[in-house]
């Protein structure tokens, strides 16, 4: 087995890291405090071709493999988890879903402008009463003439107020169906913004659809194909979120290390205390196992052999590692970890989202248990 990155992937990683550390990490605090990404950041990411990294070259993408995409997401997560979530929602959820389910016309008209950052994408699946239970979607799509009329409320839409294009899931006569809605279409209103514990740089909004008219040509896939499209989209998001979790775990560890070396108590650096050292030792083990798991899962994505259980494992484990490591590193900081003056506090708030975004931990557990017992339980 060859676990090494190839030369190209090493250079990607190096470029991703340089970019993220120079252009994103210095603004992570202001992103959190101002509750928005810095002006021009997405444009800079687009110049590096990071917004269309996974898209084919003919749509102005860089056509990177999943291992490289995970290296990118890990570096974004290390620098600023809000930024990673914004880019993952745009690139992995929205753009790749258009590539997957869109017509050639959809791809030609939207993907190049999504790669250039001119159009930011958002994925509007969740509703107030339909979180993990996608089947409970109530937003309706009624046939009228050569199009549909959409009526309903979407919630937790990442990039809600900055998106130029929304993928909206609604219940059509033939079942749950996906639609492409450009921002500004009559009847599409940006609703309230969620006040969140972490990931404050993500602009997460409700969407109100009040008699919003969508031509049939803007239907994504066939009527009733919506849930299948969403189910195919989810892995592309989950693997990205897991990679970002790896990066942010490493960032937490680094913050902890810096503090533990500089902070002196009882005349010595607290890093020399066994109780603190054990926090680091355990965290290092968990991060290293996560790195292998993320890259192996990415490799399986490239090979086309990834299973729902594989994704559930990496998604569940990554969120746990990030939460556990961030929690320990807050503790390493002592009282200072509770102060927003220290980055570890922001990281701690941010990583809490990883247990719910892209499918809750409980959903992953249910998937794993169901697949594990499949066929074994009769009656």
């Amino acid at each position: 087995m060859d676990f090494a990155l190839n030369e190209e992937q090493v250079m990607f990683q190096s470029m991703f890291r340089d970019f993220a550390q120079q252009e994103i990490a210095p603004h992570a605090r202001e992103t959190d405090e101002h509750e928005a990404l810095p002006e021009g950041l997405l444009e800079k990411a687009a110049e590096q071709e990071l917004l269309g990294a996974a898209l084919p070259e003919k749509f102005d993408g860089a056509e990177l493999d999943w291992v490289s995409i995970c290296l990118l997401m890990a570096e974004l997560g290390r620098a600023c988890l809000s930024t990673a979530a914004v880019i993952a929602s745009h690139a992995n959820l929205a753009a790749l879903t258009i590539l997957d389910a869109g017509t050639d016309e959809h791809r030609r008209s939207y993907l190049p402008s999504m790669a250039s950052g001119e159009v930011i994408g958002a994925f509007a699946l969740t509703e107030p009463q339909a979180g993990s239970d996608w089947n409970a979607i109530q937003t309706s799509a009624t046939l009228q003439g050569d199009g549909y009329i959409l009526q309903g409320v979407k919630s937790w839409v990442v990039n809600g107020s900055i998106a130029g294009l929304y993928i909206v899931f609604a219940r059509a006569p033939g079942g749950i169906t996906a639609f492409l809605l450009p921002a500004g279409v009559p009847g599409l209103h940006i609703g309230y913004r969620e006040r969140t514990m972490g990931l404050r740089g993500c602009q997460i909004h409700a969407l109100y659809l009040k008699g919003c008219r969508v031509p049939e040509a803007d239907r994504l896939g066939a009527e009733g194909e919506g849930l299948a499209i969403a189910a195919r989209a989810l892995p592309r998001y989950q693997i990205a979120i897991a990679a970002a979790a790896l990066g942010v775990s490493e960032a937490a560890l680094q913050e902890g290390k810096q503090f533990a070396v500089e902070r002196k108590q009882f005349g010595v650096a607290i890093a020399t205390k066994q109780a603190i050292g054990n926090y680091f030792a355990d965290s290092i083990v968990e991060i290293e196992t996560l790195r292998h798991l993320v890259l192996h899962s990415a490799w399986k994505m490239d090979e086309g052999t990834i299973s729902p259980s594989d994704l559930a494992i990496v998604k569940l484990h990554s969120a746990r590692v990030a939460r556990t490591v961030a929690n320990r590193m807050v503790q390493v900081h002592g009282g200072y970890g509770f102060s927003n003056e220290y980055s570890v506090s922001r990281i701690y708030r941010d990583v809490r989202a990883l247990d719910v975004m892209g499918g809750t931990d409980q959903l992953q557990q249910a998937t794993l248990a169901r697949n594990y017992f499949q066929g074994a339980l009769v009656d």
Partner: protein, 257 residues
């Protein structure tokens, strides 16, 4: 405008711990980076090319891994690369290094501008630029922040302790840049893909191709060992009003009447 940039590859200092008490540098992580001053030179070259047209050739000298640093420069937008693969370590000697690089520049064909870093972060010798310029009989603009070319002349700005100097020289010319001269651009994803797709983007030569007799490769310097500079005694801090400090300073310097 034909521009040649000479680059060096160094161990990433962020992977090292310098321990004065142990008189040792510990390498925690062995990763190599493009020398920061040379990275400034690459960026300056790309800016000159973008303004005046032409092409940028990257010349690197070192073990085979130097090719990766050349590829990094190509991913930033340089046009072609030339690697002199030397596994013997002979090119660690600045005289040998300069001779081989000068020979490589001649081999690369006609040029208008040669750029390189004004120092290598590890040895901090600052010799390569001036040595290569001498060997090629070129005027040299040393440690300049910016370079621009107009009508057969290169114009550069050099930062000094008292202000800025504008210096000029006729082309062809060699200029060196400090590590903080500019903000080097990042490579783009698509260019990285292309750099690896195009296997002929970097040509490889050996020192013997440039120096068949081996004459240029005989070292001129000999290492007498390594050590840390003796720690300096801390100075004395003078406190008080300006008049008091001045009086104490005059006395301390033994200048009092």
């Amino acid at each position: 405008m034909r521009i040649i940039v000479l680059i060096n590859q160094i161990l990433d200092p962020s992977g090292m711990t310098v321990n004065r008490r142990a008189q040792q540098v510990f390498v925690n992580r062995r990763e190599y980076i493009l020398n920061p001053a040379d990275l400034s030179a690459v960026e300056a070259a790309l800016q000159v090319r973008d303004a005046a047209g032409g092409d940028v050739t990257i010349v690197g000298l070192g073990p085979e891994r130097v090719v990766e640093s050349i590829r990094q420069a190509l991913s930033m937008g340089a046009d072609q690369g030339l690697a002199i693969i030397d596994e013997s370590g002979a090119a660690a000697d600045p005289a040998v290094r300069a001779r081989l690089l000068a020979a490589a520049v001649r081999k690369a064909g006609p040029f208008d501008l040669v750029l390189t870093g004004d120092r290598v972060l590890d040895s901090d010798g600052g010799q390569i630029g001036p040595r290569v310029a001498e060997l090629l009989d070129l005027p040299q603009l040393i440690s300049v922040e910016t370079v621009a070319c107009q009508e057969n002349r290169a114009e550069a700005i050099r930062s000094t302790e008292t202000g800025y100097q504008r210096v000029e020289a006729p082309l062809p010319v060699l200029a060196t840049l400090p590590p903080d001269a500019n903000r080097p651009r990042f490579g783009t994803a698509q260019r990285i893909v292309n750099v690896y797709r195009d296997q002929s983007a970097v040509k490889c030569l050996s020192p013997a191709d440039l120096d068949p007799t081996g004459e240029a490769s005989s070292p001129q310097t000999r290492s007498g060992g390594r050590g840390y500079p003796t720690p300096r005694e801390p100075g004395t801090r003078l406190e008080g009003t300006v008049e008091e400090i001045t009086g104490r300073l005059v006395t301390a310097l033994g200048l009092g009447a």
